[in-house]
Symmetry: C2
Subunit: 407 residues, 2 copies
C-alpha cells in the first residue's frame, strides 16, 4: 500500500458498458446492419479479439462492483467518474438508443448509490432524439444524482454543432451540469485513410475526430449562445491546446475572407473559449511534458486527472502523475479539487449575500474555498436552489457575498 | 532596419507556384474535372476570392524575383527554402504531373541560380509515377542543385507508405536529400465533416491529414527500410510531438493484439523515429510555448524556423521568434544552423581520415562544427563524393577523423 498522498485521486474518464448494450452490439456485428466502419473496427476488435488486453478490457467494462473497486484500490484511485463507453447508444436507432440510455443511466445510478464514496456517474443521452436527450439530462441531474453528461462524439455522422442538438446544451447549461465530450471512431465520411492504415482508433483517429468536434462546437458559436456551458475533453484536449495560436490566426483569417457559410464571426477567439468553457483531462496522456504544457497554455485550473479505465488500466501511470513537478496544493487541485468543482461532487454549501438572506449556493465559475478572499470586484454567479427543485440565478460582485461562519 | 541578430534567418517552408500551374488549376476548377473536394475548397478559394489576404497570397506565390526579395528584406529573412505549393502537381493526371514538376523545378532552379545568396529550392515530384519521381529527385539534387524534395502529402488519396512509392524514398536516401512533407487538404474519403464545418484547410484539416501521413510512413516501417531517410514536417510536426507518449503506448498495444494487417511490428517506437529521422519547422506556429515544448520533447536540434510565406507573411512573427527564451547559440541553431545542415546548404568541407587520405565529407548525423571535439567513440558516417557524381559511404569512429587545418 502506498502512503497517503494528501489528496484524493479522482479519475474522471472511466468507462463502463451494460451487459445488455454489449449484447446488442454483438448482434449488430453478427447481423451486419451496423453501417459504420469505425464501429465494426472498434467493437469488432474488443468483442471478438482473443488477445489479452481486449479480453481484459471487456471483462472490466461490464463490472460496476467488486472487481472495479479492487482495481481502484490497487491503483490508488479513490473515486471514478464513470461514463458509458463509446459509441454507447449513439450507434443505435433512435428508439433503442433512448431506451438503452435510460437503462444505462439507471444501472450506473444504482451503482453510485451503492458505492457513494467510490463512484460518481455521468448521464448518457441519445442525441438522435435531442428533446428526449434534454429530458434525460434533467433526469440524470435531478433524479439520479449524476454528475454530468457523457456524449461519445458524433452520432452516425451528426455533430452537436447542428442546432437541432442544441436543446442538449440548453439543458446542460440550465442544470449547471458539464458535458464530457468523449471520442468515437471517425464517421464513414472521415475514416477512409485512417482505417486502411490501422490508425482509426485510440492511436490517432479518436483524437482528430473529437478535436474536430470540439472545434465545430466552438466555431459554430455554441458558447456564444450558451455562455455558461461547460465541456470536458479527455486526452489533454485532443491536441487543441497545441494549436491555440494557429486556431486563432486561421479562424480570424478565414472569417475575415468570408470563405465559408459555416464559419461566421463569433464573439471571442477560439482559444478564449478553450480557456473559459473547456476543461481537459489526462486520460491516456500521463506524460508530464504534455500535462505541463496544457497547464501552461490553458491555465492550471483547466487540467485534471483521468485514467481511462479499463482501456488504459496502468497503475504505474498514476505514480507518474503523482510525480508531476508541481507543489502539493497544485497536485491536490489536479487530482481532486478541479474534478470536485467541475462535476459538483461536493455538497452545496450555505452562504449569504450581504443583507443576510441565507441561500444555498454554488458558483458556475472556477471557485475554490482556498481562493478566498476573492477580489472584491470579481463577478460571481449565485445559484439559488429552493426545495432542491426549482433553480434561479443571480450574478453579483464577490464583495457582496460572504461565506458562512466556519467556511 | 532592425539590428543584425547575429544569425541568418533561413525560412524553410516558403511556397511558390509557376504561372503555368496556376493556369492549369484554373482550367480544372472551371471545367469541373477535378474530382477532389479539398482542391476545390482550397484553390477555389485562393484563385477566386476577392478578399485581401487570398489576393495577396496569389500575387506573391508566382513571384520568384524582386517582390519576394523585398518581402524577405522587410521581414528580415536572409534565405528562403522555396517549394511548390499544395497540391502542386499531385492533383494532375500522371503525364501532366511529371511534365509540370519538371517545369516547376527548372523555374525554381533558375531563380536559385539568379539569387544564390537568397533562395534555395526543393524538388517537386509526381508520386503518380514513382519511377519518374525518383529520377527527378536525382536530377534535382545532382543537376539542378536543389536542397531537398517537396511532397504535398497525399496524391489523390494515395499515401507514401504504399510500397509502390518507395523508390522515392530510396532515391532520397541514396542522395542524402531530405523530403519535406507538406500538408494538403484531406482526400475525399476523409474530408466530409471537416469540409461541412469549414475546417478542411490550414485551421485543422491540413494538420490532421499530414500528421496521419507521417504516422502512416512510420508505422509502415519506411524508416526501418530506409534508416537514413530524413523527413521535414511543418507546423511543429503537425501535433505529433504532443502525442509522443500515446503513439508509443497505443502502437505497442495495437501491434501486440494483432488488430490490423496494416500494423505490423517495427524496429523502434514511433517516438524514436520522430526523434531521429524527422525534423520539424515552425511554419504557422510562431508561438513560444509550442516551440519550446517541441524542443523539449524532440530535442532542440530537431526544431527550425519557417515562415510559410506567402500564406502567413507576418513580419511580427519573426520578431516573436527572435525573442524565444533560448541563448544566442541555440537561437542561431534554430534560425540558421539546423536548416543549413538538414538541407545541406553549406558547401562540402574537406576532411581526412587518419591515414591522410583527403576526402570531401558530409555526415548524415546531426553534425556541427561547434560540436567538436566529438566523443572519440562516436560513430560517424563519411560520404565520399568522387568527381561530384558517384557516392560511397563509410562508417567509422570519430577518433579516426580529423578536420582539415583551419576548421
Amino acid at each position: 500500500m502506498r502512503p497517503e498522498p494528501g489528496y484524493l485521486r479522482i479519475a474522471t474518464e472511466e468507462a463502463f458498458a451494460p451487459a445488455e448494450l454489449v449484447a446488442l452490439w454483438r448482434s449488430m456485428l453478427a447481423d451486419g446492419p451496423a453501417d459504420d466502419p469505425g464501429f465494426i473496427s472498434l467493437q469488432g476488435f474488443y468483442l471478438r479479439s482473443q488477445a489479452e488486453r481486449p479480453a481484459a478490457v471487456l471483462a472490466r467494462l461490464t463490472d460496476l462492483g467488486d472487481r472495479r473497486i479492487a482495481d481502484m484500490d490497487a491503483a490508488g484511485i479513490d473515486r471514478q467518474v464513470i461514463s458509458l463507453t463509446a459509441p454507447g447508444v449513439q450507434i443505435l436507432d433512435r428508439d433503442r438508443a433512448v431506451a438503452m440510455a435510460t437503462l444505462a443511466n439507471d444501472q450506473l445510478a444504482e451503482a453510485c448509490r451503492k458505492h457513494p464514496d467510490r463512484f460518481s456517474g455521468l448521464t448518457a443521452v441519445a442525441p438522435q432524439d435531442p428533446a428526449a436527450a434534454a429530458t434525460e439530462v434533467e433526469r440524470g441531474a435531478r433524479e439520479l444524482g449524476l454528475a454530468g453528461v457523457i456524449i461519445n462524439s458524433h452520432t452516425q455522422g451528426e455533430y452537436l454543432d447542428n442546432p437541432r442538438c442544441w436543446p442538449i446544451f440548453e439543458a446542460a447549461q440550465a442544470l449547471d451540469t458539464p458535458i464530457y465530450l468523449h471520442p468515437n471512431t471517425p464517421p464513414r465520411t472521415m475514416i477512409g485513410p485512417l482505417l486502411e492504415a490501422g490508425l482509426d482508433g485510440a492511436i490517432y483517429g479518436f483524437a482528430i475526430e473529437t478535436g474536430m468536434h470540439l472545434l465545430r462546437i466552438i466555431t459554430a458559436g455554441v458558447f456564444d449562445r450558451f455562455p455558461r456551458l461547460r465541456i470536458v475533453v479527455g486526452h489533454l484536449g485532443e491536441a487543441l491546446p497545441f494549436w491555440l495560436y494557429r486556431l486563432d490566426y486561421m479562424h480570424a483569417a478565414t472569417v475575415k475572407a468570408g470563405r465559408y457559410e459555416a464559419m461566421k464571426p463569433i464573439d471571442r477567439k477560439p482559444s478564449e473559449y478553450l480557456r473559459s468553457n473547456v476543461w481537459v483531462t489526462t486520460s491516456g496522456m500521463p506524460w508530464a511534458p504534455a500535462i505541463m504544457f496544457c497547464r501552461d497554455v490553458l491555465g492550471p485550473d483547466r487540467v485534471m486527472y483521468a485514467m481511462d479505465y479499463p482501456y488504459q488500466y496502468v497503475p504505474a501511470e498514476v505514480a507518474m502523475q503523482d510525480e508531476l513537478p508541481i507543489d502539493a496544493a497544485a497536485k491536490k487541485a489536479f487530482f481532486q479539487d478541479i474534478a470536485e468543482e467541475v462535476f459538483r461532487l461536493l455538497p452545496d454549501r450555505p452562504c449569504y449575500l450581504t443583507g443576510g438572506v441565507p441561500w444555498l449556493w454554488k458558483d458556475s465559475m472556477v471557485f475554490r474555498p482556498q481562493a478566498w478572499p476573492l477580489a472584491r470586484s470579481a463577478s460571481v454567479q449565485v445559484i439559488v436552489r429552493q426545495s432542491g427543485a426549482s433553480t434561479s440565478r443571480a450574478t453579483g460582485l464577490a464583495s457582496s457575498i460572504r461565506l458562512p461562519p466556519g467556511s
